[in-house]
């Protein structure tokens, strides 16, 4: 089957895993929508890199925690409907659970889980009609195994994994797949404080932290036509840490 015309939206793609994913999907021929909340310069640099390599990229500002912004990000445009959605924008506000404020709890759930639901809900209609769609949700190994100090983050990411499985079964018969990746320790701005710890690296069987490109390669596979029979799964990308 020929791939229908459409584009890929990667939320939170001005840097880190999102940026690497936008570059990888553009290399697969998808026109990509690069989304940022605050880092416009980062987003523009990613777009320039894609354009220089012969790909197509649009830069779109928007906060995924705001319903109206999500609606705009997903509107069909000249690049067609969004047929690949990567819910990547994420936030962590760590603390031991007795110390987590209501605000920090709600903010993390909003950005990591509710925004994933909302974007997926809007993306599915056009995907169902196209009989093709790929949703890839960026979860975390923290959604699978414990990491003290991240109860809100863990709850949001475990929620993403449960959401992924259920939606996958709902839409599987229309050629739409829904999967998650669960990165372990990856070098990004979100993790730079925790990774300055050689003891932690020793605990990773691969003896190194991962790169955004390690995760992007897995998302690229899950978004490919070749992964059409893979749905509802969570692919851990953690150097063997959770094996």
């Amino acid at each position: 089957m020929t791939r229908p015309e459409g584009c890929a939206l990667i939320t939170g793609s001005s840097r880190g895993i999102g940026a690497a994913t936008a570059i990888a999907l553009a290399a697969d021929g998808w026109p990509v929508r690069i989304n940022y909340r605050a880092d416009e310069q980062g987003a523009r640099e990613v777009a320039e890199q894609i354009t220089a390599a012969g790909g197509k990229a649009r830069v779109l500002q928007g906060d995924v925690a705001a319903a109206a912004d999500t609606e705009t990000l997903l509107e069909p445009g000249e690049d067609g409907p969004v047929l690949v959605l990567v819910n990547n924008a994420g936030l962590r506000l760590d603390n031991l659970s007795p110390q987590i404020s209501d605000e920090d709890w709600a903010r993390v759930i909003d950005v990591n889980l509710t925004a994933t639901f909302r974007a997926t809900r809007q993306a599915l209609g056009p995907m169902l009609r196209a009989r093709f769609g790929r949703v890839v949700n960026v979860a975390s190994i923290v959604g699978i195994r414990a990491n003290p100090g991240q109860a809100n983050y863990a709850a949001s990411k475990a929620g993403v994994i449960g959401f992924t499985k259920t939606v996958a079964q709902e839409v599987a018969r229309r050629g739409v797949t829904v999967n998650a990746v669960a990165p372990g320790f990856i070098e990004t701005a979100l993790t730079e404080e925790i990774l300055d710890n050689s003891e932690l690296v020793k605990a990773i069987p691969a003896r190194r932290v991962g790169t955004p490109e390690d995760v992007a390669a897995c998302i690229r596979f899950l978004a490919s036509e070749g992964a059409g029979y893979v749905t509802g799964t969570t692919l851990t990308v953690d150097g063997g840490l959770s094996a």
């Binding site: 599915l124 209609g125 056009p126 169902l128 009609r129 709902e170 839409v171 018969r173 229309r174």
Partner: protein, 82 residues
């Protein structure tokens, strides 16, 4: 530009949509029950997307959960647009 919402236009779009979803055209009528036509909940989601693309009218889960016949779907779209 969304198509003008009137009963005739909506009926045509809904009938065409149901055919696209696998229903035989000669089984279609306003009185036909969705259950008899094997229109399931995911088909209704897709039909809602077709309606939105065509008329700019959004149908949500609460709107469609009680509809039983093709005619009720048509009336619902016309009512929501009005």
């Amino acid at each position: 530009m969304p198509t003008d919402v009137n009963t005739d236009n909506v009926e045509k779009v809904i009938f065409d949509g149901l055919v696209e979803l696998g229903t035989e055209r000669d089984e279609l009528s306003r009185e036909a029950s969705l259950e008899d036509l094997d229109v399931d909940s995911l088909d209704l989601v897709e039909l809602a997307q077709i309606v939105e693309d065509e008329f700019g009218v959004e149908l949500r889960g609460d709107d469609v959960k009680d509809v039983k016949t093709v005619g009720e779907v048509i009336d619902l779209v016309v009512a929501k647009a009005g």
